[in-house]
């Protein structure tokens, strides 16, 4: 026999009263864990989607029209290529990679197409066109996992994104979009004359359904030469970490490139931020509810429990229990309530998240271990704090009033 056994035996004896408070704390933890699981998985899913879109930030000359994000570089004004070096040499965090481009609309046999000069080793491997053409690993993972330790470090780098889409592109080699080859009746290995210069189509790119289908990609240096330009570009595509975007990456870029227009896939980022904010608010509201409802319920239960056990408390004091032992009995009971509520709440909340996640947010939800710690801290914290006043009252009960028999 010890005080712990006394607590457990009493809990088992008065299961019904215990159950009400237990359900209050359990439901609160279930909701918090479920909402947090879904919102975290949703953030992660949006981050992966953003990464899979390839570049999510475009740096363009100031006067560029950006009605169409994906075609904004075509015939845009020009800017110096050394803007890329300015970003590289800055200390801005969240820039994963950059791909400078020079594009111009040209005509071949009366067919209008876009000639795009690229630096092969800078092309972003996660862009759909390189993914579908087999230039890069289709299993490429998101760089912007919000929980990634990498993203939290000052030296942010994702090694997987260091793999570039195209290792090399010869001076007179080109990659042709699917529309280009079909309109001009070309095929892989064919020659094509662009601005008086003969190129060889080394690869026909599969259809992507984007403006890239109407492009011919050549080396940036070659494009600059045949278009009669110097070391200029008209776009820098940047792979920016989505969480860094919401934390002010765009503003930082504008600071170092003040005479440019910097844009992003705004609606996607905003939707993500909005969804995340809604989920965060939802979690906060439930946290407040659980603190109030759970805390009041447990406090009320413990208070009634003290009332009900006055004689028992008096007897224990008479036998030789100290007020500290009485505190232990009631705080210990709150602790057990919190521990069981936290564990069961985490398990059921994770299960609820796994079931509801695909329906509510369209994302696959897996249990998140860190939420277990949160569930325990919240459940145990509320239970112990709510038990404190009743325990204090029990420890300070006047034995004279309790033990007066007549």
């Amino acid at each position: 026999m010890n005080l712990r056994k006394i607590i457990l035996k009493e809990l088992l004896e008065r299961k019904k009263q215990f159950l009400t408070s237990f359900i209050a704390i359990l439901l609160g933890i279930i909701v918090i864990v479920a909402v947090k699981s879904v919102s975290t998985s949703s953030e992660k899913a949006v981050a992966i989607q953003l990464d899979n879109l390839g570049a999510n930030i475009l740096v363009l000359p100031q006067t560029t029209n950006i009605d169409n994000y994906y075609a904004a570089d075509i015939n845009a004004p020009e800017m110096p290529e050394d803007y890329v070096d300015r970003i590289t040499s800055s200390t801005i965090k969240g820039v994963d990679n950059m791909s400078p481009k020079l594009s111009a609309r040209i005509k071949i046999d009366n067919y209008s197409l876009v000639l795009t000069g690229i630096l092969p080793k800078n092309e972003l491997a996660s862009k759909p066109i390189w993914q579908t053409s087999g230039f890069s690993d289709p299993g490429l993972q998101a760089a912007c996992d919000p929980n990634s330790i990498m993203n939290k470090s000052s030296g942010y780098k994702d090694p997987k994104l260091q793999r570039m889409a195209i290792d090399s592109l010869g001076e007179y080699d080109c990659l042709a979009g699917s529309d280009v080859v079909s309109k001009l009746s070309l095929k892989e290995g064919s020659g094509i004359k662009i601005k008086g210069t003969e190129f060889k189509i080394v690869k026909v790119l599969p259809q992507t359904g984007t403006v890239d289908d109407g492009r011919i990609f050549v080396h940036l240096r070659t494009a600059q030469k045949i278009l009669g330009k110097g070391r200029v570009i008209n776009a820098i595509e940047i792979m920016g970490c989505c969480s860094a975007i919401s934390e002010g990456l765009l503003g930082n870029l504008r600071n170092i490139l003040p005479d440019t227009k910097i844009t992003t896939i705004n609606h996607i980022v905003q939707t993500q931020v909005k969804t995340n904010n809604t989920m965060e608010k939802f979690s906060l509201i439930f946290l407040i509810i659980i603190v109030l409802v759970g805390g009041i319920s447990i406090g009320n239960y413990m208070w009634s429990n003290v009332e009900e056990r006055k004689k028992e408390i008096g007897s224990l004091l008479a036998i030789g229990a100290s007020p500290r032992d009485i505190y232990y009995i009631f705080i210990g009971k709150g602790l057990i309530l919190g521990l069981i509520g936290g564990i069961a709440g985490y398990l059921l909340g994770s299960l609820a998240g796994m079931i509801l996640g695909p329906q509510i947010a369209g994302v696959k939800v897996l249990p998140i271990p860190i939420l277990f710690i949160w569930a325990m801290v919240i459940a145990v914290g509320i239970s112990v704090i709510a038990s404190y006043l009743p325990a204090r009252r029990a420890a300070k009960l006047d034995p004279a009033l309790i033990l007066q028999e007549i």
């Binding site: 088992l12 030789g320 004279a400």
Partner: protein
């Protein structure tokens, strides 16, 4: 020896102050069996609880052996009770969700005795009280008399020098009353000091000395 000097206790309620004990002084020798009698509300239980270190008096001093118990801090007073005193109540105050054996084990557990020793000692005490076949019964499964014997066994668990009994026969029939008081007498004969609050003159006859308390004042 229990020595009480000028003990006063006042209960303050919202409306007025009630004097429960007024300048009570008395001495009880080691090994004595003393009854405290008096009408309801005369302060008998308050005096007993003051002796047991459970109520801080308004004024006065309670000395048991060498210790002035209200000069001890709360924790030391609890340890003092645990080692030296055994309480028996009218309504037994057994813990309802524990078995007879577990109830007797509580004072042993509070004294830090290991589980194995607790069990052995508690079993031995309950066997002496004729409850060998009721060890694992909860209080509600025991008769009134059996509950009182469990309460006495619990009071004896830590081999106290003093037993403080508050109306131990108040809920018992005449046969059980005789049996219980006889048992207290038997304990007294082993050298244990017994102080019993009662309003049963028959029970008081078993004691060596009877103190009468009226309106908080002692009339020996």
């Amino acid at each position: 020896m229990i020595k009480i000097e000028n003990l006063s206790k006042i209960y303050n309620s919202k409306r007025d102050a009630v004097v429960a004990l007024s300048e009570v002084s008395l001495s009880i020798k080691n090994g004595e069996f003393v009854s405290i009698v008096g009408p309801s509300g005369s302060g008998k239980t308050t005096l007993l609880l003051c002796m047991g270190g459970l109520i801080h008096p308004y004024r006065g001093k309670v000395t048991i052996g060498e210790d002035s118990i209200y000069d001890l801090d709360v924790k030391k007073r609890a340890i003092f009770r645990l080692r030296n005193l055994g309480f028996v109540f009218q309504t037994f105050n057994l813990i309802p969700y524990l078995t007879a054996l577990e109830n007797v084990q509580i004072p042993l557990a509070l004294a830090g005795i290991s589980d194995g020793h607790q069990s052995g000692k508690a079993t031995e005490l309950l066997e002496k009280m004729g409850l060998a076949d009721r060890l694992n019964h909860k209080p509600r499964e025991l008769s009134i008399g059996q509950q009182q014997r469990v309460a006495i066994a619990r009071a004896l668990a830590n081999e106290p020098k003093i037993i403080l009994a508050d109306e131990p026969t108040g809920n018992l029939d005449p046969d059980m009353t005789r049996e219980t008081v006889s048992y207290l007498k038997l304990l007294n004969q082993t050298g244990i000091t017994v102080v019993m609050v009662t309003h049963n003159p028959g029970a008081a006859e078993y004691s060596q000395r009877t103190l009468r308390l009226v309106e908080g004042k002692l009339r020996e």
